[in-house]
Symmetry: C2
């Protein structure tokens, strides 16, 4: 049935000259936007300036705009049949064919692989990926002589430049190389140049490369596996379930060449069945991208991510459309497409627009999922819990126990972040960078990305002796990863993610378990957090909470500082000002804040001697690169092992237009760790109504069939599996 529909669509599309009005609204409006852009460009001279500028500079921006204009013009010819668009593409390409062979390497010399059109070969590859599509659109229309000229004088030289002339760019297992592979492969498919296609798919044979060739991170180009090229990227860039080790911000960027070359191969080399390759890894990567966003659609800012990148970014349109059309027809994706407001100008985008117009859209309601990390799926991962509360409102918890994530990874093992309808509740700092904003270090990573954003204390996870995980050394971090301990999402009212790190600190085992509990006693799902650290040697344990909002009240006294000093000298602590120190005087401490129109109350089990340090980044920040968002550290000194337990409630509302504070207070009146032994931990907390929840947790085995017995204060509890909840 779907095949038939696709066939009909393909036939429809082949009827050139079809009027825009015949298309479903979203396709028609996208096409009209492209036409407006191209028509305006056609009124100007088409410029092909000699490359000289860095990103953001004039020649960079002109060539970048050119690839977009050519891509759009090609699509317009394909969809409308109007030859003026084909002629425009042809003439533009001929200008490049005149100029390109005369250009030396880009004069900037700032990259490990300098381009010709741009300062880095990566951008040359971007150009070729998109322009290949325009070239494909007009290829059959071109006179043979022009075709030959473009093939031999522009595209084959460009493909060779991006591959055999730059193996340190082309032959890595890295998202840069994927762009190179896709560029060479896509132009090869257009020109039917089998040599290029094979090179794209399999890389340059290792035997043809110097053995000690290095990339920009000093990694050896000739990998242990000896593999390179697009298929190797598909095998090695993702975990088996599609997770990308650098996180969703980079996946969003990295996915484009995969999808574009993949789609081109599906069309031109159907025998390869690339869409099914590695258990449909492309479809899984799309799923992984779309599932790594908060309830507003913003991607989780894991690792070096700029915040605000979103499911609704233009780059994600093809993930949604290809995900829908090529994999599974999930009607939830149609509502994402509607929100995106545009579709791909191809048959997949047409299918999306058609089905949307037919009313097939359903709400996008992403589910809980644990992603594995590593090519073989055995390097930890990321666990995402989603609870749908009142009015289908989504609360989302992300726990990160992934591998290091290469150069963009953070030292944040077992860290978490929490989101609700209003956005970030407990934040991940993201990267210290303003992408493409020249005023801030040319838009590149800022020094504070290394000294602050990557460090453990910048995350919601345990810091021991004020030293980052893996000593903050990527070489150590790349050799290790935590492991998932348990993930239970079947019971949507009591979901668990738990992971263990044995290597973040020498001689210490860190285990975290987090639950989202949905219960009518609470307005929104409640986050329950258990963090056990066991070791032999006494050490300072500090557990940060980076909350979003304005501190309202605590139930313990604290002393504020009138002179602010950096909290310490390294591992990110040099950037923290100590604003206040609190000393909870009971076995429980409560901190209340207000953010985004809601109240939040975190209730924590405390021990005698615990301190709560209120901190804020901003120290040693000579160029105002850091955001001044508040946080607090629960500090426990001089313990070899320690267990942290807290519950976070979201409740009530306040709108300054009405000035009525609804439910401004938390409802948890008691909270304690009843048992904390090697095999078991038992947690208890009590609601003001008197209702008590008891959570029994097996620290030693997550076997779902294991029977457990635990005596607490003379009462015996039996259960099966990793955890057990008792409400009484």
């Amino acid at each position: 049935m779907q095949q038939i529909l696709l066939t009909i669509l393909l036939l429809t599309l082949s009827l050139s000259g079809r009027a825009q009005a015949d298309y479903p609204p979203l396709f028609a409006s996208t096409l009209a936007g492209a036409q407006e852009q191209v028509d305006a460009a056609m009124e100007q001279a088409f410029l092909v300036p000699t490359p000289v500028d860095m990103a953001g500079g004039y020649t960079h921006e002109v060539h970048k705009q050119n690839w977009k204009t050519l891509e759009n013009a090609g699509a317009l010819y394909r969809l409308t049949g109007e030859e003026k668009y084909a002629a425009f593409v042809r003439d533009g390409l001929l200008q490049y064919a005149e100029a390109y062979p005369t250009w030396p390497l880009h004069p900037t010399d700032r990259s490990y692989a300098t381009g010709k059109i741009f300062w880095q070969a990566l951008n040359d590859a971007n150009w070729l990926v998109y322009v290949s599509q325009a070239y494909a659109d007009i290829y059959d229309w071109l006179e043979p002589a022009v075709r030959t000229k473009l093939n031999t004088e522009l595209f084959r030289p460009m493909a060779d430049f991006l591959s055999v002339e730059n193996p340190q760019f082309f032959n890595r297992i890295h998202n840069h190389s994927t762009w190179g592979n896709a560029a060479v492969g896509m132009i090869g498919l257009v020109m039917d140049d089998e040599e290029l296609v094979q090179r794209a798919l399999y890389g340059i044979p290792a035997s043809e490369l110097p053995e000690d060739l290095r990339d920009d991170d000093s990694g050896r180009i000739v990998s242990e596996s000896g593999r390179a090229g697009f298929l190797a990227q598909l095998d090695l860039s993702f975990s088996p379930d599609g997770y990308f080790t650098e996180g969703p911000y980079y996946l969003r960027y990295a996915l484009s060449p995969f999808l574009l070359f993949g789609r081109a191969l599906a069309e031109k080399r159907p025998d390869m069945n690339i869409l099914a390759y590695r258990n449909s890894i492309l479809g899984k990567a799309i799923d992984a991208l779309l599932l790594e966003a908060d309830p507003r659609g913003d991607f989780f800012p894991l690792n070096d991510s700029q915040k605000g990148m979103s499911l609704y970014a233009p780059e994600v349109v093809k993930s949604v459309d290809y995900g829908y059309a090529l994999y599974g027809r999930d009607p939830g994706l149609l509502s994402l497409a509607r929100e995106q407001g545009s579709v791909t100008l191809d048959k997949e985008g047409l299918l999306v627009a058609t089905d949307l117009a037919a009313g097939k859209a359903r709400p996008f309601q992403p589910h809980s999922i644990a992603f594995t990390d590593g090519p073989d799926g055995d390097e930890g991962g990321v666990g995402i819990l989603r609870a749908y509360g009142q009015g289908d409102e989504q609360t989302t918890l992300v726990m990160k126990y992934s591998a290091q994530g290469m150069g963009h990874g953070h030292f944040d093992k077992l860290s978490y972040s929490l989101y609700d309808l209003t956005g970030e509740v407990i934040q991940d700092y993201g990267a210290a960078r303003w992408v493409n904003i020249d005023q801030k270090g040319g838009g590149r990573y800022l020094p504070e990305n290394q000294t602050w954003a990557k460090q453990t204390v910048a995350h919601n996870t345990l810091v021991i002796d004020r030293t980052s995980h893996y000593e903050g050394d990527i070489r150590i971090g790349e050799n290790h990863h935590p492991d998932l301990y348990a993930f239970r999402a079947d019971d949507t009212t009591f979901q668990l993610v738990s992971a263990v790190s044995e290597n973040a600190y020498d001689g210490r085992k860190l285990q975290r378990a987090q639950w989202l509990l949905q219960d009518t006693a609470f307005e929104h799902p409640v986050l329950i957090d258990l963090f056990r650290a066991t070791g032999e040697r006494p050490a300072v344990h500090e557990l940060p909470t980076w909350y979003m909002g304005q501190l309202m009240r605590t139930d313990f006294g604290y002393t504020t500082e009138n002179i602010l000093q950096p909290l310490d000298s390294a591992h990110g602590y040099q950037h923290l000002f100590l604003e206040a120190t609190g000393r909870p005087d009971a076995d429980m401490a409560t901190i209340e804040w207000f953010g985004n129109g809601r109240f939040y109350t975190q209730t924590m089990a405390t021990e005698s001697g615990d301190e709560i340090l209120f901190v804020r980044p901003g120290a040693n920040d000579p160029e105002f690169n850091l955001r001044r968002d508040p946080g607090f550290l629960l500090r426990r000194a001089d313990v070899a092992s320690s267990t942290f337990f807290s519950v976070l409630e979201s409740h009530g509302s306040y709108n300054p237009r009405e000035e009525v504070a609804r439910d401004p207070f938390g409802t948890i009146t008691g909270l304690r760790i009843l048992v904390d032994s090697e095999p078991y931990t038992a947690l208890e907390f009590t609601h003001q109504s008197g209702t008590t929840w008891l959570i029994l947790f097996s620290n030693a085995t997550a076997d779902p069939d294991q029977e457990h017995t635990l005596n607490i204060n003379g009462q015996s509890y039996q259960w099966r599996g990793v955890h057990h909840l008792i409400k009484q």
Copy 2:
């Protein structure tokens, strides 16, 4: 024509039992909302608990909800004719009639005028204002015996309590008293109790009061004028053009009793023609309220205002509806009503909903206006400039040169704030208070309101020798005010507001002139700021700019502090941490920031020795009551007189979904003060295109007919009036 329409509407409304479906949509949905609320309340027991709690506590909230439920139920009876609603109101009132006479004063004893139902008589008056309307709705339906009982046992005693028993509450010229006057007058109109109506209109005769009676601010109740009551409030609470000296946040609250009693008088005592009283002062007050909001609809947070209060707050519905129906039928108000999403459940609200349904709405485009302050309009004022740029986008400048504003006034003479589509650009801090949020000092003003929010340095205006205006002493402030110097808004591309303060500092004259310049050279209107301070004695001059956003770059070097200390010890400076000190090394300094998706560049004329201090509130803030928003002070020490000149550009955009920085740089390349003498100042600034603007300003006279001649570098300029712009 309008009279006929109103008559038809009145006739229509008198047909009781009209189905909701017959009403225009907005009226019908508002009515349905009221019905839902009342029907739900009718399923519960109607509770009249003995008063014990403060605001936010149980008995307070129950009685507050009761007045709303009764008001809605009365309206439902009036509009639907269903007797169950009348009976519900009657029975509720009878419960109050049983209880009220037995209640002593509210036990809290925390107010200068303790109430009986609530902790303050003010809230008792709120109750009576709203319940009077419910009583009016069912008055004719009631059996005479019930009417008599309610009149004599509940309402007349309550009216006496709020007036003759609490003259210190009833007889002031103050918004509290207006509630008292309205409450007594409105119930008097319902009961046809002429004594109460007269008391409401004219107050308690001074002769009947002890001469030394004092209010909570120790002010004498018997005023110099000897006047009190509603008419006196109308005469003395507003300036002749409707400005309310405490600012829009308080006007929004204060206006309710004026409008409700005014409307009741218009209906029951048409001979008084109250709507036309004092040149239609009620209409002018409505206008003043609606014109004191930023492009998003948020009220300017002048004086002690909580931010976020808005044109779209429920309390403003009647201002819009009565403004439309009773004054002028401005179709712009209909779009405000649409955005508000509800209307008053009376004939005015019905007219609004009807005209809205008829498509009469037009965009609300408030205009530039200079409001006078003081009952006679001679105590300074507030000047608002609005420029409509691309796509009718509004840029709004507010300069404040008003009187002190009583107890809620700030020491912020000649301060300004700036707004655009994205909200606050240069902010006014507002109040240090979370209204009705119990965790923060019970929702009352926080200590930092006095020590920080009211102080001069918390505002965008000049501070001399780190001392607030009027020495931060309200007793001095109340005796003085700045004066408007010039306001020119006819030429919408070059609008001016200028004011002078002779008293903020002894022996110093402060004069500020601000222009909004609209020119195709700039994407958005540009703010030009000239601040002249003249005196005899050398002093430290510091001019703060409280910008909203993230510092991007400066064109001068600065040194950041790694240990933060309070900048000084008093007048708000004790709350400021010094984060960095810059020393511009040329005669011009530029600061760039990014906020709300836009770039901003402020270019300032500087002198040798000037410093720029980057500061942030947070010092001496023992309960985290202050927001950590950044600011900078342009500091010039040891000068007797000094002139400050700056230009602020808004430009470009950046969206993290697209990561393209459009126009991130300002365009002004040069800026200087060409002439600065007693009679004249000449300012010049240059665009990167080479275009130069020259502004000639007469410091000594704003006479629009005065001819001026000024020689600058050998060239002679002639013009007429206060200022002259030359673009070359």
